[in-house]
């Protein structure tokens, strides 16, 4: 065995996978990346890493990365490789034609949480300043939009109240609808470290996840509720806190709107939320609800971490409000070791939320309807802006089906695979006159595209990411972009081709513009981040080096007080029936990342070659299913086929799968239901039936033809 080569150069950058935002040193040898080493000074990871960030970076040089821009007049035509200039000219002429023919609001744009802050900001600028409407959304819509809404309503800021290290001061850790050891592994390790030191763990999740029990880490209470019953369960926990007077009266009097607290007490204190009533309905022992409530209220430091198991429901925003209410009532905000913290799925979901990629708010969550805010953007951008909210991503798709939306610019996002009710999404995309896809790969959505802009991976560009703990870290270019342009440059050139003159000499100038226009980012700059390593917003005159813990003195609401929302439980219309007697819920696995665009192109497929359906042995026996059998899963919206794994991680009546592989088509099943406030899709609850089949009728072939999404050698056997 020879000695390994010694890397010649190393560049400090930020992982592009989950929302933990680990710092890495990308080491190169002979101009190629040969190793990613976790950065010891990374404030989120302190030298630790997980398999994805540490090892699964090879996708950046996958053979099927697109290297040349392409256009075609119709999706039935083959792609035609063209120059960048020709691609920009064609896309711009189509968008202008559509707007002339169908009106200013007939086109829209979507960005992604895999984009840098600078790219996200530019794409919304493209929509608002160049297209002249507010049809701009980003994929946080389909994961954490309820977080922004629900937390803003109660505690004033739709972001994590803490930094990750804060958990080392926690005595009680409540994890709701999240599985950090798989989904946010580096944070999961920190959490387990704290549990080993003696903190108590409460997990609310339909599935007995890896977080519930692992070596030297076991949940004190696991509420294995039926999918879709979060609000009832959390209201019942609140009921116990109210009836047993476990709330922190002094905190509420000093820091909250007391009248609203009284209204809330009346609602959750009602008999219908007693654990003895709610327990049987949600499928857990009433005593466990009481135990969870008492543990959380007692603290002394109790903290909440939650994930998409809270948000991706028709009552997603209400669920988030429940968490805000609980933390306020028990005084678990405003210091270290407490708080309410969303675990964000993608590297830059928080940035996507902060930087105005929403149809109703500019960067910093300020409404487009607000004249003063709008004028500040008009002054900077030199154009007049639409004062009315635009369409959200699901509404854009509805509008495309209805024929009122004709053009879309989709950056780093794959709605055809990741959005719910897949058949409806495909119908929408097929209906567009011009779909511009800007991505690394010809993804599922690109099958319906007319223009393809080959993007740059996070190893090939400069910018910043904002992690789940509000931490803004630098993304630094390690190698040259494969197709020649960094993503932010592509969007700028598209703006130019549309006739909007703007130029930046480097990505840092975009961050400077963000800082000028966004209060929480006022003090941010590449120079500051280079000096400090990373900076948590708000970063401004009062906090020139950023802010670790929010809400220490006041809540960012007009009167400075936290408030309580009335969180009545409204059952989802998605219910089991004789025809669809099981509830399907979804989650992730450690080695794969979301729809797998990156991780499926790495050796990580060794661990997870396919998505499987977890079925409780009782349900399996009723259906004659054995471990390893193929099954057809049918919902009201579609069907797909998966291999079955018998597992007692799920209770009878519940089935579970991951959604990492395109051919699994989990979203062929999911419904068109969505959160009442934000339209975040209800991915987590779908009524299904599962039937044994002899062999799969290759589900992959059922979704569009002609384009291979994976290089042959990586196609799972």
């Amino acid at each position: 065995m020879p000695n390994p080569v010694k890397p010649e150069r190393s560049v400090i950058t930020t992982c592009a996978y989950c929302g933990v935002g680990c710092g890495f040193k990308a080491e190169t040898y002979g101009g190629k990346i040969v190793r990613m080493i976790p950065w010891k000074e990374g404030k989120a990871n302190h030298g630790h890493s997980c398999i994805k960030g540490r090892f699964a970076y090879d996708y950046y040089m996958a053979p099927d990365r697109v290297r040349t821009p392409m256009i075609r007049a119709s999706i039935a035509d083959p792609w035609q490789e063209v120059s960048w200039d020709e691609a920009f000219r064609y896309a711009a002429s189509e968008f202008k034609r559509i707007q002339n023919q169908y009106g200013v609001r007939s086109v829209g744009a979507v960005s992604s949480s895999r984009c840098t802050n600078e790219e996200i900001f530019l794409v919304q600028k493209f929509a608002r300043a160049v297209l002249g409407n507010n049809n701009i959304d980003n994929c946080a819509r389909i994961c954490h939009s309820p977080t922004q809404f629900g937390l803003a309503q109660t505690i004033g800021a739709g972001a994590a109240s803490q930094h990750f290290d804060s958990i080392l001061q926690a005595d009680v850790i409540m994890v709701v609808g999240a599985n950090p050891t798989e989904g946010h592994p580096v944070f999961g390790s920190l959490m387990k470290r704290r549990v080993r030191q003696g903190a108590k763990l409460i997990v609310i999740d339909p599935r007995k996840t890896e977080t519930v029990e692992s070596p030297h880490c076991k949940a004190e209470v696991h509420l294995a509720i039926r999918p879709g019953t979060n609000v009832a369960t959390l209201d019942s926990i609140a009921h116990v806190i109210v009836r047993e007077k476990l709330y922190n009266e002094a905190f509420v009097r000093a820091r909250c709107e007391v009248a609203e607290f009284e209204n809330w007490k009346a609602l959750v204190g009602a008999d219908r939320y007693a654990p003895e009533v709610v327990g049987p309905m949600v499928g857990v022992d009433p005593q466990d609800i009481r135990k969870a409530a008492r543990l959380y209220a007692k603290g002394p430091n109790s903290t909440i971490y939650y994930g998409l198991g809270v948000t991706e429901h028709s009552q997603g925003s209400t669920g988030v409000m429940c968490l805000g209410n609980l933390a306020l009532a028990c005084g678990m905000l405003g210091r270290e070791g407490v708080g309410v913290n969303p675990l964000r799925g993608q590297g830059n979901v928080q940035g996507g939320s902060c930087l105005g990629s929403w149809p109703h708010v500019f960067s910093g969550y300020r409404f487009v309807t607000d004249d003063a805010t709008r004028q500040s953007f008009e002054a900077e951008w030199g154009v007049s802006l639409d004062p009315e909210p635009g369409l959200r991503l699901p509404n854009m798709l509805d509008a495309a089906v209805a024929g009122s939306l004709k053009g879309m610019y989709v950056v780093g996002e794959d709605p055809a695979q990741s959005d719910p009710n897949q058949n409806h999404v495909i119908e929408a995309l097929k209906n567009l006159d011009c779909l511009v896809v800007h991505d690394l790969f010809l993804n599922e959505t690109a099958k319906y595209a007319h223009v393809f802009f080959p993007g740059s991976s996070s190893l090939e560009k400069d910018g910043t990411f904002t992690s789940a703990e509000r931490r803004v870290s630098r993304v630094r270019k390690v190698v040259e972009p494969l197709a020649g342009l960094q993503d932010w440059e592509i969007t700028v050139k598209f703006m130019n081709a549309m006739g909007y003159p703007v130029s930046y000499s480097h990505a840092g100038e975009v961050l400077d513009e963000i800082a000028r226009l966004t209060p929480a980012y006022r003090g941010m700059s590449f120079a500051l981040i280079d000096r400090l390593g990373s900076v948590q917003w708000p970063c401004n005159e009062e906090a020139p080096e950023g802010t670790e813990v929010l809400h220490r003195v006041r809540f960012p609401r007009p009167n400075g007080l936290g408030t309580f929302m009335l969180t009545e439980y409204v059952p989802t219309p998605e219910r089991t029936s004789n025809q669809y007697p099981l509830l399907l819920t979804t989650g992730r696995i450690l080695t794969q990342y979301n729809v797998g665009t990156q991780t499926r192109r790495t050796a990580n497929t060794v661990w997870h070659p396919e998505d499987v359906l977890e079925v409780n042995p009782l349900d399996a026996a009723l259906r004659g299913l054995k471990d390893g059998d193929w099954a057809r899963i049918t919902s009201r919206f579609g069907q797909t086929e998966l291999r079955v794994r018998l597992s007692d991680r799920v209770n009878p009546g519940i089935v579970y799968t991951t959604f990492h592989h395109a051919k699994s088509r989990a979203n062929a099943l999911t419904s068109d239901l969505s959160d009442w406030a934000t339209n975040c899709p209800e991915y987590k609850v779908t009524a299904v039936e599962v039937v044994r089949i002899a062999a799969p009728v290759s589900a992959a072939e059922a979704v569009g033809q002609g384009v291979s999404t994976l290089p042959k050698q990586l196609e799972p056997a």
């Binding site: 020879p2 010694k6 010891k40 890493s49 692992s214 990580n604």
Partner: protein, 242 residues
């Protein structure tokens, strides 16, 4: 607060985790140094640039005291305590370099060397190689006796391999898996000369509970655990464990 995590510095290995505590002043080779209470003598020495050689200690892991390379002399203390497991005390006087210490350390390092593949000394750049170089140890007086040179490489994991021939059984990997990652997949199986790093029930890494976080590879001082991507044109493996 949280100095164990936040006090870590890129490119610097303090040897043992940084601590929070009241300031304690001591002397290292005549140089006064003030560090937080509960810090190790090793950390205090590193702080003032008096690097003490070490193999099993690293600042991301709790000290373990197994390699016996980091020995020092402390005024008023008997013997040669390991600087990684000895905590600082007010007024302590520490000597990190002396002819006796040099001789003791060389003796230990030569023992390590006697079971390290000789053809892999040249061109190596691991901490183990650097330590040997810094301490001027290039051959050993014990000769090449019984050894682990032919132990099969475990290359089951797609991303890293484990070459037991290069393993010095310092337990850094075992401790990283427990302390940092919290998976507890690794252990030292057997005793004495038979001691070896084992994943789960002595299974190939890929089949074990290992979650491939890379923490063990990060802390391995001898490139026994090493990224496959660092081998240009691939690595050649001895018959692998099946």
């Amino acid at each position: 607060m949280w100095s164990e995590l936040r006090g870590l510095r890129d490119g610097v290995d303090l040897g043992t985790p940084p601590r929070d505590g009241v300031p304690v002043t001591l002397e290292i080779d005549g140089i006064a140094v003030t560090v937080p209470a509960r810090s190790s003598v090793m950390l205090a020495a590193t702080t003032v640039g008096q690097q003490i050689p070490k193999l099993c200690a690293t600042d991301m892991l709790e000290p373990f005291g197994s390699c016996r390379v980091c020995l020092v002399e402390i005024e008023g203390h008997k013997g040669y305590p390991a600087s990684c497991t000895t905590l600082v005390a007010e007024g302590m006087k520490v000597t990190t370099q002396s002819p006796t210490l040099k001789r003791l350390r060389q003796g230990v390092l030569e023992l390590y060397l006697s079971d390290f593949p000789p053809e892999e000394l040249e061109g190596g750049w691991s901490e183990f190689h650097q330590t040997m170089q810094a301490e001027g140890v290039s051959e050993n007086r014990y000769g090449w006796g019984q050894n682990h040179f032919d132990a099969p490489v475990d290359d089951s994991n797609p991303y890293f391999l484990f070459d037991p021939a290069k393993c010095i059984v310092c337990s850094r990997c075992v401790r990283a898996c427990a302390e940092i990652q919290g998976t507890f997949a690794l252990t030292i199986a057997h005793r004495g000369f038979e001691s070896k790093v084992a994943a789960s029930q002595d299974q190939p890494f890929l089949e074990s509970e290992c979650v491939s976080c890379g923490a063990c590879v990060m802390v391995c001082p001898s490139h026994a655990l090493v990224e496959k991507s660092l081998f240009e044109g691939g690595y050649y493996a001895k018959p692998s464990k099946t």
